[in-house]
């Protein structure tokens, strides 16, 4: 699964520009399930299992990652940009970016020698940042890039013991786990959605869930871990290496209590996400049509939404184990 994750992370796919990931996934799953692509680019899969579940089950992972979109080109050939998804300015200054998976550039930063003491303490304004692709004029830049082109911050996928360092772990981890489940799980029928445009407001999951009309859903995600040196336990949210995290509530959803309890008491390695923060596709899945019961299984990631997030291989494995456990549970559930 690590090689699969590496291949997924290396593809650049910002929200709405996710064909690269989608095509890669189709190639992986095409022999294991039925699939189709909808108008928003969602990849909707159905896998027939050995048994029919009592409830219609859907699994969700999103294919997009945070990145940049080129807004304009200055007369001197510098590119102005806007963020696609939530990116903090502190992880943008002096970074290498790759535009259209072909043209390298750097986000410039004023040399430390020329910055005043006050300037050095505060982040620059996002509006003042620019990408330098080495162009000397607008005309030269236009030979290589156009307004509306996408860029991502470069990173090298690195395995360091049990830890993985890479961009796009949110949510290629979910994609990798979901591909693995499609390939290996056949107890019950289920739907799998590789949804688009999560980072700009869970757009893909909204329409895909409407199409599928499930009863229960498992959301496979990455979430914040702030288990950093010196941070007290109650501020850590999740701990990398502590097992997959189960949420009771975040800024988008209050999760199904029964599922939360079942997951936490499953006996599989997992932890509770201890902060009410962030959000994921559950915010739209839960309120689709007449409502869907959801559980979110999130792999803890340090420095999420930066070009170098850190996750633990064992948490990714426990994410799959708990997802499969919950699928079996949902399939056997009877109305109470």
């Amino acid at each position: 699964m690590i090689k699969l994750l590496e291949n997924l992370c290396k593809i650049d796919a910002t929200s709405g520009d996710e064909k690269g990931v989608r095509d890669f996934i189709i190639n992986e799953i095409k022999d294991y399930c039925e699939y189709k692509t909808d108008n928003l680019g969602n990849l909707i899969c159905f896998k027939k299992g050995k048994n029919t579940p009592n409830r219609k089950i859907m699994l969700d992972a999103h294919t997009d990652e945070v990145g940049l979109i080129i807004k304009s080109i200055t007369k001197d050939g510098f590119l102005k940009f806007e963020c696609v998804g939530g990116i903090d300015t502190s992880v943008l200054v002096a970074r290498r970016v790759l535009i259209n998976e072909s043209v390298y550039g750097v986000i410039g930063s004023k040399p430390v020698h020329l910055s005043s003491e006050d300037e050095r303490k505060k982040l620059p304004k996002k509006d003042n940042l620019y990408i330098d692709i080495g162009a000397l004029s607008r005309e030269e830049a236009e030979n290589y890039v156009s307004i509306g082109d996408r860029a991502v911050m470069c990173s090298n996928f690195t395995v360091n013991g049990d830890k993985i360092i890479s961009k796009a772990l949110d949510d290629r981890i979910g994609c990798a786990v979901l591909i693995d489940i499609i390939k290996t799980y056949d107890n019950y029928d289920f739907y799998a959605v590789f949804s688009t445009r999560e980072e700009i407001g869970a757009m893909g999951a909204k329409t895909a869930t409407f199409s599928i009309n499930p009863d229960s859903a498992v959301i496979l995600e990455g979430t914040t871990a702030s288990d950093l040196s010196g941070v007290p336990d109650d501020k850590r949210v999740t701990v990398v290496g502590g097992g997959v995290a189960v949420s009771f509530m975040d800024r988008g959803a209050v999760y199904d209590k029964k599922y939360y309890n079942e997951a936490i008491n499953s006996g599989l390695k997992c932890q509770t996400k201890t902060a009410v923060s962030g959000g994921n596709n559950s915010q739209v899945i839960q309120i689709s049509r007449g409502g869907v019961r959801t559980v979110a299984l999130s792999v803890p990631c340090r420095y999420i939404h930066s070009s170098n997030s850190v996750a633990d291989i064992n948490d990714i494995r426990s994410s799959k184990e708990l997802a499969v456990y919950m699928m079996d549970f949902m399939a056997k559930e009877t109305d109470d």
Binding site: T74, D76, F78, D88, S90, V91, V93, A94, R95, R96, V103, Y104, G105, V106, I107, G108, S109, K110, P111, V112, H113, L114, R120, K121, K122, L123, P124, N128, Y130, D132, I133, G134, A135, L136, E140, A141, N143, Y144, S155, N156, T158, N160, G161, K163, I165, T224, S226, L228, S229, G230, V231, V237, G241, S277, R302, Y303, S306, S307, N308, V310
Partner: protein, 337 residues
């Protein structure tokens, strides 16, 4: 790729700080192909000599060291505290990967503080707040020791045109220029002796050029370093233009005969050049070279560079080429003898 681009690529990808001598060894081997070289006993510096037809010696200087970090603490959870070696803007670091040169090479990440832990806007006052996550947990202490070198984890890449990006282009661009000049002069009859002096520890206050220059005791010297290139946040008053050629330094600490002759040779040979005027100290090795021993007539050539002291430095290969063109003609014409 060209010889200059190839050499710069290799040098940029390697590291040279204190006990980590990869780039220094590489440059030494390259220069050895063209002249007799001698290593310094106690640091990364080395020099190569080309004999000429007179006793007059011109020393060319470029520094091999780079901005870096050194480990000052390793904690039980595998996080490092570091100190910077050379000026580094802390705002460029969160979530950036680095290479920790411990018992083995380890890739670590500068932490980026999660938003929910910030009381207000992040402040960047003290590098001790910006720890490095080794991802090793308790095991970190077995592999990493206090004083270990930490460098940026960035490879060399081509941008569009002739522009390139990477780490440590300050001053591997200068070192590359010197190697290229040696390659061009190899086998040629020279009117003066030329000593190529590749030195350590410029980023720590030009500490490498001091003993190197004392040892060589040249009549004249030219330092080759980088300087600020203009960008949206660097005005024309603060820097030179990228891609418009070598910058010939003009400053009271430099020798005006050397400066004038460099200007004349550049002009006569139609080599693209710009002037960089400074009111005093240049912030380069030429500041200490000029006052070495009984004094050395010193000049300065600078290569315009963007985003200095980050792992996103940018230079134009053509600007390095213009340094080489100028130095080659200057030397063949006898320097400022």
């Amino acid at each position: 790729m060209s010889f200059i681009k190839d050499t710069l690529c290799d040098l940029s990808n390697l590291d040279a700080v204190k006990s980590v001598d990869e780039a220094s060894r590489y440059a030494y081997q390259k220069l050895c192909e063209y002249c007799e070289c001698k290593k310094s006993k106690n640091n990364l510096s080395f020099s190569g000599v080309m004999k000429g037809e007179s006793d007059y010696t011109l020393m060319l200087d470029a520094h091999i060291d780079q901005v870096s970090f050194t480990v000052t603490n390793v904690d039980d959870e595998g996080f490092l505290t570091v100190a910077n070696c050379g000026g580094i803007d802390l705002r460029t670091l969160p979530s950036k990967t680095v290479i920790i040169h411990g018992k083995e090479k380890v890739v670590g990440v500068f932490i980026s503080t999660p938003v929910h832990l910030l009381k207000c806007e992040p402040e960047f006052e003290n590098i001790q707040d910006l720890k490095i996550d080794t991802c090793l947990g308790k095991k970190a202490k077995e592999i990493i020791s206090l004083g270990d070198v930490v460098t940026f984890n960035q490879d060399f890449k081509e941008l569009i045109g002739n522009r390139v990006t990477g780490k440590s282009l300050d001053d591997r661009a200068g070192v590359t220029a010197l190697i290229e000049v040696a390659r061009r002069l190899y086998g040629k009859k020279l009117p003066i002796n030329v000593v190529f002096s590749i030195v350590d520890a410029e980023e720590l206050g030009m500490r490498g050029a001091i003993p190197a220059t004392f040892d060589i005791a040249p009549d004249e010297a030219i330092a080759v370093d980088v300087t600020f290139a203009t960008a949206p946040d660097v005005s024309e008053n603060e820097g030179g233009y990228l891609s418009k050629g070598v910058m010939i330094g003009v400053s009271p600490v430099l020798d005006s005969c050397v400066t004038d002759k460099l200007n004349t040779i550049a002009f006569d040979n139609r080599i693209p050049f710009q002037n960089e005027v400074m009111g005093g100290r240049t912030g380069t090795d030429s500041d200490v070279i000029s006052v070495s021993g009984m004094g050395v007539k010193t000049g300065l050539l600078s290569i315009p560079l963007r985003n200095m002291h980050t792992d996103c430095e940018v230079v134009d290969i053509a600007d390095i080429e213009s340094v080489c063109d100028l130095l080659e003609q200057y030397i063949l014409s006898g320097g400022a003898k």
